[in-house]
Symmetry: C2
Subunit: 259 residues, 2 copies
Amino acid sequence: MYQKLRIIKAGGKLIDDENRLKRFLRAFARMEGKKILIHGGGSLASRISRRLGNEPQMVDGRRITTADDIQIVTMVYAGWVNKKIVAALQSYGCPALGLSGADAGLIRAEKRPVKEINYGFVGDIKKVNGKRVQAIIDQGIAPVFSAITHDGKGQLLNTNSDTVAAEVAVAMSKYFETELVYCFEKPGVLRDSNDDNSVISVLDEAAYHKGKRQSWFHDGMLPKLHTGFDVLKRGVATVKIGNEKMLENDRQIFTQLKL
Amino acid sequence: MYQKLRIIKAGGKLIDDENRLKRFLRAFARMEGKKILIHGGGSLASRISRRLGNEPQMVDGRRITTADDIQIVTMVYAGWVNKKIVAALQSYGCPALGLSGADAGLIRAEKRPVKEINYGFVGDIKKVNGKRVQAIIDQGIAPVFSAITHDGKGQLLNTNSDTVAAEVAVAMSKYFETELVYCFEKPGVLRDSNDDNSVISVLDEAAYHKGKRQSWFHDGMLPKLHTGFDVLKRGVATVKIGNEKMLENDRQIFTQLKL
């Protein structure tokens, strides 16, 4: 029997809104059992970037990461956001350790090859050192990952935080029964993107493919779902999508993916 | 018999100069035995601060840390500088783990009380969790500390990096025979600040007090020496001062403090 491990990804407007972030972190701190937190950076990197006179470049909603940008995202994600989260969790009685993929060589990535688009210093994950992550968890400490990785040759790389969460969940499935939770501002996958009461409680793969063909998923949901179904085939036991309230025990509103 | 542990503090122009930093990090990676690295932020925090339109305020060479400043120093020290150093060490084959004092609650500090001067979010160290640092070292990993601490109530604090190194060295003396090394741009304590060949190889406390009265120590050396003699009385076995070359085995030029 494997022990349970929950990997919670916090992203979207959850990170930008001080009050929602606090509520989320309190709920995370109170969660019993072994757990990992993975966070995005919200819109702070773009705001800091503009204040530094560096206009972020996006292609199809993805950030092109120049040499200036990798410095800025490392400062914001691995520096400010990560340490602010860790300090808050400590104050809520949750021993937490802030990490980037470079730390202890935990997540090695490869600079994305240039095809039609040069994404710059963006990394595709090659290997997660699950054994070392397990050693941290077994000390009763919750790892808190920012989505900065490295190539093992000294270069830091910007990596999609949903993907970091997914790859960490897959790697940890060797040691634990894993549950991956995508936490953002919406209460789940919505039938109607304007109606928060239209949460689909169980989404199976057939419904996902149908919804994809009819393109009724709301913005940014498609890659999450694609990744979610993918990791279910790679050893992750459970995938859920919802907002910070789903971490509080009495709430049972969220979307669970089923193969 | 205690095992040896070396605590190396890297600061000053060593952090600002890419080539010297590389040489220092290569030498640190090659060092055998258990080791900890503690780094300052060099002048990058002030440069980023100015680019963000926030002029750093200094009183007697010490930074006043406003709410804006604590965000900036956390971004620069715990984010960019820390992760850049960790990624470089990993590439040199040295397993390294980047840390702030907030991580795993390793260094708890207290906001400095306001007397004549309000230093803002500056922290005086109250407790180093040596047991947890030991657990990291015993996994064959070198902890790399930025000088950001926390108060345990969710507030990050800016702390002098020489002091962080000193308090970590004292705390680790319970578990190891510790050597504290202050590494900066000069080859040691100089008899004549314009002559790099005038390194004092052994400085005892009497000579220190004499030099202090006659005020012939070069800039910024006095607090280092004060701290160095203090930690020798609090369990640290050895204190040395020099530049990156002293970490390379064949070099024997540095200053050693003696009580």
